[in-house]
Amino acid sequence: MQSSISNPLRLGLRQERVIPPQCLVIFGASGDLTHRKLIPALFELFLQRRLPSEFAIVGCARRPWSDEEFKEKMRLKLCDKISSHEQEWTKFTEFLFYEPVDLQEESHVKRLSQRLIEIDRLKATHGNKTFYLSVSPNFYEGGCKSLKNVGLLDDPIKSRIVIEKPFGRDYSSARKLNKIVQSCANESQIYRIDHYLGKETVQNILVLRFANTIFEPIWNRNYISNIQITSSETVGVEDRAGYYETSGALRDMLQNHLTQMLAVIAMEPPGKFDPEAIRNEKAKVLQASKLANEIEPWNCCIRGQYEEGGNYDNPLKGYRDENGVGKNSTTETYIATKIFIDNWRWQGVPFYLRTGKRLPKRLGEIVLTFKDVPVHLFESTIINPAPNQLIIRIQPDEGATFKFEVKSPGSGMRSRPVEMEFSYDESFGEPSDEGYVRLLADSMLGDPTLFTRSDEVEAAWKLYTPLIELMENAPWKLPVHKYESMTWGPPESDQLLAKDNIFWRRP
């Protein structure tokens, strides 16, 4: 979303919920996520005056830094962002502390526990603690156990844990991990973060659906013919080959971000706007979701991998030529799948989900295509009247477009499609917060609405189990099709829809 001159009357009006006194402990504080997302998000909250004065951020990692070194490292990494807010940054650094901790070493965690008592006294944080595990998933188990063993998770009201994706590698590992984490803390203390849910437009889907009377009556199989969910990136694997080789597009994007969008778009209206009511509905719809063909999953899924592309001036490497990627890698960088939801609302409506790297545009969108009119009364300027479509743009240019038919000017009664447009930029003209700003604030406020619950995570893994098993046991049945970099995926992906006489929307 582009920033423009702020509305002066809007300044200061957005203060809503106040974060209570708090100590936020970030494990993995020397990692990328801390300086790329977490500290900038916290600084943004500080600039918005949403952090209480009784606040502390304790960075933890294995590196033997001091408080001052940590502050300096963060300052250097964030110099662009803080250049126009030097004074505020100086005040903000009063919140910053650092403790060298190896999460696997219980003695380190014990020492941390002592340090937290001192910091609690110093900053009057009232014993409220949020532990953010920005570490490799391999450390979730040990980390949670260490925190539990030294008593840092004992108070179910004052302590909570935030866990980054990926939460498990498949259904059984996710269940196992859930069991371990739940043995260390109550479910109400566990916040599984999916930054897509922090996006303004994803939350807007709930408002669009449940704050307007016009959409809900037609939001079902009687009026909707199919739904497409797309999340595409223009970048390749960059420097994440080590991680990506073990995950691929299914685990990296499809199972979490796209499936969460599916849940939000397809869930039933909750009885009230309450975290558990919303998460119940999301879990229910995910539990009712299934691959379009579970017996022969290769018929409802296409995997792809980008090859070289670009042009003479800007040649792009193929995936197998990227640093850290094996020459015979079969990791998918693109995946498209067809899903059905077995409930009264969505019976028979196909949901097509696709995601990939090195596609022509970076975007996220959800397209609801409505059924054709029963009788074509009017001649169309194109071959047939285009079906109505509601396009919800998650990023960039957040907003929504509604496509419908109107009379084409001139004699005769020919119809043509036009678009009705809502753009966040044109309506609000303010940049929306980064997903992490919202989610970090919510976790410290103890609001789990936008975090995934254990049953949601498990249902999402279960949904893709036939594909994961196939990829592991009979990968030749689900081959990785090549596609040229900066094209919309392998041609086989188009055929997945063509069988149903449907086409991917070309955004």
């Binding site: 423009s4 001159i5 509305n7 002066p8 009357l9 809007r10 300044l11 200061g12 009006l13 203060q15 809503e16 919920r17 106040v18 005056r49 209480p52 009057a124 009232h126 014993g127 179910p156 009201i157 004052k158 109550n186 109400s188 309450d274 930029d425 044109e426 309506s427 609000f428 003209g429 303010e430």
Partner: protein
């Protein structure tokens, strides 16, 4: 939301025994302190009007401390019958004096402070201390105490409990005995709020006591004379004490609606060309209207030039950086059925002139109802480009407003409010002299 009762009948104790009693109450066997780690709230709850109505037998008891529909209807009837202005505030001395003449019953049940609205109880206050002054001068102080554990929809592993203390007696007994004990009831490390749920003209010695004690203040400038209200606000700012005003909280929908008009970047330019603002209010308490005008002028960086009264209308002139003047006016309007909060804003008109050709200019109208919008359209406004919105006034109970404030306040004075108070007090000073 309905009020929640305490699970046990409040226990009457001598005032001096209460601090010790409460200390013992929170020492549990497993050494886990299960008292809520939130805040304490002192409520000044005179409920003069209700006391008078009940004691005159014009409405049935018991006295609860809540401004019910029955009390409002009875008060409005009384205003009509006695030929008082329709916008007479419900907390006004005139009304109480009228009722005081007919008091003949002194035996009534007084439940003030023994239960409170669930919008507040869901915030789990650790301690609520209610000061319930009686209308008679002779009443000695009586003190009651009770523990409470509000039931919540949320599943919790631990019940979060608090306690209630009530001081009931004449103002004199509250001053001489109650205030001494209250000092001992403060809980270290927990923020302490004072909600002045009555007219600000009332019992200044008690208000000033709490104000000096450094409590976070919650007042309502719709209740009280403008002079006293502005004086309290200015003093609080000078002494850097946190102050919150329900009259400012109620202005939020107007501020939000006006900001919404200018959210689309294509309309931002209009803000640079505002030449006139008219604010219509109910009755003659203009504090809320002053807050609104001050907030706009602060956000748009206007300088105050002059302020004067012309009959009932208040005129305030500002100057923009480019030297252009902006004329603003506050107009008290006669209303058939005024709100229970006096001086509420009911209409706002902004005129933005970019050209001598009226068609190129814009008139923005916000009204609390369509009729108000129509009134503000008069005088040829439709010659300009019109942007109109109805800002319905869903006035909530004061308890609900307080709950909203407690849930969202950072404890200090909101910077927007602080700036607005500064300009309001400057305007007020000019008007006074």
């Amino acid at each position: 939301m309905k009020p929640q009762l305490t699970l046990q009948t409040p226990l009457e104790l001598p005032a001096h025994e209460i601090p010790n009693y409460l200390k013992k109450l929170w020492i549990s066997k497993d050494e886990l302190d299960s008292g809520a780690n939130t805040f304490s709230l002192i409520v000044w709850q005179p409920s003069w009007l209700e006391q008078c109505f009940v004691k005159s037998k014009l409405i049935n008891g018991p006295i609860t401390g809540y401004l019910t529909e029955e009390i409002i209807t009875a008060a409005k009837k009384l205003i009509l019958e006695n030929g008082l202005p329709l916008a007479t505030p419900l907390q006004s001395r005139e009304l109480i004096d009228l009722l005081n003449k007919n008091i003949f019953d002194d035996s009534f049940e007084d439940l003030r402070g023994q239960f409170f609205e669930s919008s507040i109880s869901t915030l789990n206050p650790r301690r609520i201390i209610t000061l319930a002054p009686t209308i008679q001068d002779k009443h000695d102080i009586k003190t009651f105490v009770s523990a409470y554990c509000p039931l919540s929809d949320e599943i919790r592993d631990q019940t979060i409990c608090g306690d209630l203390v009530v001081f009931r007696g004449s103002i004199r007994s509250i001053v001489t005995e109650g205030l001494k004990i209250i000092e001992k009831l403060s809980i270290d490390d927990l923020p302490s709020w004072l909600w002045w749920n009555g007219s600000l003209d009332d019992s200044p010695e008690i208000f000033d006591y709490f104000s000096k004690e450094g409590k976070r203040l919650i007042i309502d400038t719709a209740n009280g004379s403008s002079e006293r209200c502005i004086d309290i606000l200015t003093k609080a700012l000078k002494s850097k004490r946190a102050i919150n005003d329900l009259n400012w909280v109620r202005l939020k929908s107007w501020r939000e609606s006006l900001a919404m008009i200018f959210d689309p970047p294509s309309r931002r330019n209009l803000l640079e060309h505002i030449t006139q603002i008219d604010v219509d209010i109910e009755g003659d308490n203009m504090v809320q209207a002053l807050f609104l005008i001050s907030w706009i002028s602060d956000k748009l960086n206007w300088q105050l030039v002059e302020a004067k009264k012309e009959n009932e209308i208040t005129l305030i002139k500002f100057k923009r950086d480019n030297g252009d003047y902006i004329l603003t006016s506050i107009n008290p309007m006669p209303i058939g059925n005024p709100s229970i909060h006096s001086g509420q804003v009911i209409g706002l008109r902004l005129i933005s002139k970019v050209s001598k050709d009226p068609k190129k200019n814009t008139c923005i109208i916000l009204g609390s109802e369509s009729a108000e919008c129509m009134r503000l359209e008069a005088g040829g406004m439709a010659d300009m480009h019109l942007i109109e919105e109805v800002v319905p006034s869903f006035l909530m109970s004061s308890e609900a407003d307080v709950s909203k404030l407690l849930a969202s306040s950072r404890g200090d004075t909101s910077p927007l409010f602080e700036n607005s108070i500064n300009i309001t007090s400057k305007i007020f000073k000019i008007l006074k002299f």
